[in-house]
Symmetry: C2
Subunit: 260 residues, 2 copies
């Protein structure tokens, strides 16, 4: 008896033509039936932005004879997931994978990342979600080294099912396959950017700014994603979209909120 192939939605934030998503499509086509809905242009650092004050365009970019159906969308990564699930697909996918991102989405980057926001949106819609990122910003980054790991992680998720309300943030060190030490379940490191702004002038003499700065990790824990990546491991952080700081509610209840 033949088992029904899982339906897998693929998206990213670097745009549908990025080498990272092309590799991810290739890997997912070995596992299931794949549909691609990805931004028609780079949408890095778009966070969980959605398009509410503007129109969205959808273009089918695959030929009818192609094995994988692909759409490009004019919106953000989260728009792509929403329109895929609610407009294009006839049934809920078994898995949504986002990436493979060209560059890190570890620690605080999770919150700025379009790749991870797409995976989180899948989770919000009740679909298992995984964001994959490689610590190499180069357009020509070598994704072949991590293909077997990406495939195994997707298979593990399909086999075991993620806890409700949780998606995975998977980051790969820039190493050869043989040098990678394995996979570690981690917490998000408490790191941030020491932001700077590069002030310049237009040819007309008007000031403008570029966001710049350095990544600062002061979290010394050995259970963090940053530690894992620095030590040759693939980091897997379970990420949730209930942002409530439950542990602080008791303390906040002692404040004098209602004495106006």
């Amino acid at each position: 008896m033949k088992t029904k192939k899982p339906l897998i939605l693929v998206t990213n934030d670097d745009g549908v033509s990025a080498p990272g998503i092309r590799t991810l499509i290739e890997i997912m086509a070995e596992i299931g039936e794949v549909i691609v809905v990805a931004p028609d242009k780079p949408q890095s650092a778009m966070g969980h932005a959605i398009t509410i004050n503007n129109t969205l365009y959808l273009n089918k970019i695959s030929k009818d004879s192609d094995a994988v159906t692909e759409y490009s969308c004019s919106g953000t990564p989260v728009d792509c997931v929403k329109i895929a699930v609610n407009e294009i697909l006839k049934q809920k996918p078994d898995l949504c994978v986002s990436g493979i991102n060209h560059g890190t989405n570890s620690s605080i980057n999770v919150i700025y990342s379009g790749t991870m926001s797409a995976a989180l949106e899948a989770g919000i819609e009740g679909i298992q979600g995984i964001g994959f990122s490689l610590l190499d910003f180069d357009w020509n980054a070598d994704f072949t080294q991590i293909k077997s790991y990406v495939k195994n992680i997707a298979l593990e998720v399909l086999k075991n099912n993620l806890p409700k309300g949780v998606v995975l943030n998977v980051n790969f060190p820039k190493l050869k396959e043989k040098e990678i030490k394995g996979i570690k379940i981690c917490r998000q490191a408490n790191a941030k950017y020491d932001q700077k702004f590069d002030k310049r002038q237009t040819p007309q003499g008007k000031d403008y700014y570029w966001l710049a700065g350095d990544f600062i990790n002061e979290d010394k824990g050995e259970d963090t994603d940053e530690w894992a990546l620095e030590n040759g491991y693939i980091s897997v952080v379970p990420v949730q979209f209930d942002l409530t700081a439950h542990h602080t509610m008791q303390q906040l209840n002692t404040w004098k909120w209602n004495e106006i």
Copy 2:
């Protein structure tokens, strides 16, 4: 002996000219020294987007004789906080308030909200942050009813200091001041959108889409922000930017990650 006034950064996502931020500036000017850095245009639903592939412009829009210094910025709400803290301000503000948003940011809206992302960014930068939202999308919404509550909440935060890594998501029901029952510390309701897409055609016959849909709250808990708001309370949710689902790590460690 005169106590030094707190330095308060004010921003929003509806744009610097929105009545909601005008009210917030007025209230904060009663408490401290205020500086405004807010988007030069509406930036609703921008989530935690930042501008990394484009330039940023900053315009001082207040006169030198004005009591409050105001800048408009071409970027997202998160860009506004970053450029305020790292480029404009000489010292770290004591508080960053965002809003008052025209419309709800309760439950899952927290993740799409530019207002709340600005408050979260303040938290990431080690500054106390509060996002304020009124459940009235109208540009002419009546913010006078909630002024005393907004002021008291800001004063409580300045007096007690928020727990580290936590900002507040404050939503106000659309009620008269006398009808409001008080403030409740809540958790984020487990609610979402039943998203639909309204398909239309351009005058040239090309299909396009508008994001639409209904808000669905299936969370029956009486400790949620949705419950509080429906029952006449102001909801205050402590929100964190460590997205790790710590409670699932043990379970995920039992999976066969490293058997490739």
